[in-house]
């Protein structure tokens, strides 16, 4: 279970395992960069970059989940995301949260 709230609705947090995070830096190939450059002449959604960031975020989350599983946690609460551009056409995605053990509340 992954939530961005401090508690999990319908569940009790029985143990806090610690901070977990995952990051990734990804880029699209040059063709997509050129496509985005052309699209930006008129403005509007840059689909190639939207895809890139959504894929990267999924990857970063996957790594965060892997870290949580390594701690024997079954949920991550208070998840936050950050994005930063580190070079033209490349972005770093970072996801972090607190790994916990939760059980359905009675």
């Amino acid at each position: 279970m992954i939530v961005n709230t401090e508690t999990i609705p319908g569940h009790d947090i029985v143990e806090t395992k610690g901070l977990v995070s995952g990051n990734t830096i990804r880029a699209k190939h040059l063709g997509r960069d050129i496509g985005a450059g052309l699209k930006n002449l008129v403005g509007g959604e840059l689909t190639g970059y939207t895809e890139l960031l959504n894929e990267s975020r999924a990857e970063a989350m996957q790594r965060m989940v892997g870290a949580a599983q390594g701690m024997n946690a079954n949920a991550i609460v208070n998840v936050r995301f950050t994005t930063s551009a580190i070079a033209g056409g490349a972005a770093e995605l970072y996801a972090y949260g607190t790994a916990v053990v939760a059980t359905p509340s009675a």
Partner: protein, 149 residues
């Protein structure tokens, strides 16, 4: 012919093309806004909160997120740079970011409905600059979906 090549062509490239691009951009923008309004009217009754209530009873939870990268367009960027000299609201850019934010929000809500969610809590928005030299912004929207059991 030579006069056309010497004066007309550079003029066409420096003034004509940006105007053409901004006209196309305006058409895309209006279509997008109409599409957003149509989709928004379909989800008005879906409960979304930016708070995180704890008294929800027994529910299933899931984190949903969606991001949209939206480019401002060449001419708008140029106008914005003029506008920053005199100050004031940059309406054209407000519109661009508003479109991106509404799109990201709609994708999250539509995703929640598709997954059988009954509401979204603790919704958050984040904006970051991702384009490098290309002026564009990423708008991220994420929330915890609840599904009543």
């Amino acid at each position: 012919m030579e006069i056309f090549l010497a004066i007309g062509l550079p003029l066409l490239l420096t003034i004509g093309l940006p105007i053409l691009f901004s006209v196309i951009g305006e058409i895309i923008e209006r279509r997008h806004e109409a599409d957003l309004a149509r989709r928004e009217s379909a989800i008005v009754d879906f409960p979304v909160r930016s708070t995180s209530p704890t008294d929800l009873g027994r529910v299933d939870v899931e984190l949903l997120s969606s991001s949209v990268v939206i480019g401002t367009g060449y001419l708008k960027q140029l106008f914005a740079s003029f506008r920053t000299m005199v100050g004031g609201e940059i309406v054209s850019l407000t519109r661009v970011l508003d479109r991106g934010r509404r799109e990201a929000y709609l994708r999250v809500v539509e995703d929640a409905r598709q997954r059988g969610g009954t509401g979204l809590i603790n919704i958050r928005f984040e904006t970051s600059d991702v384009g490098g030299q290309k002026p564009s912004s990423e708008i991220l929207c994420y929330a915890t979906m609840i599904r009543e059991l």
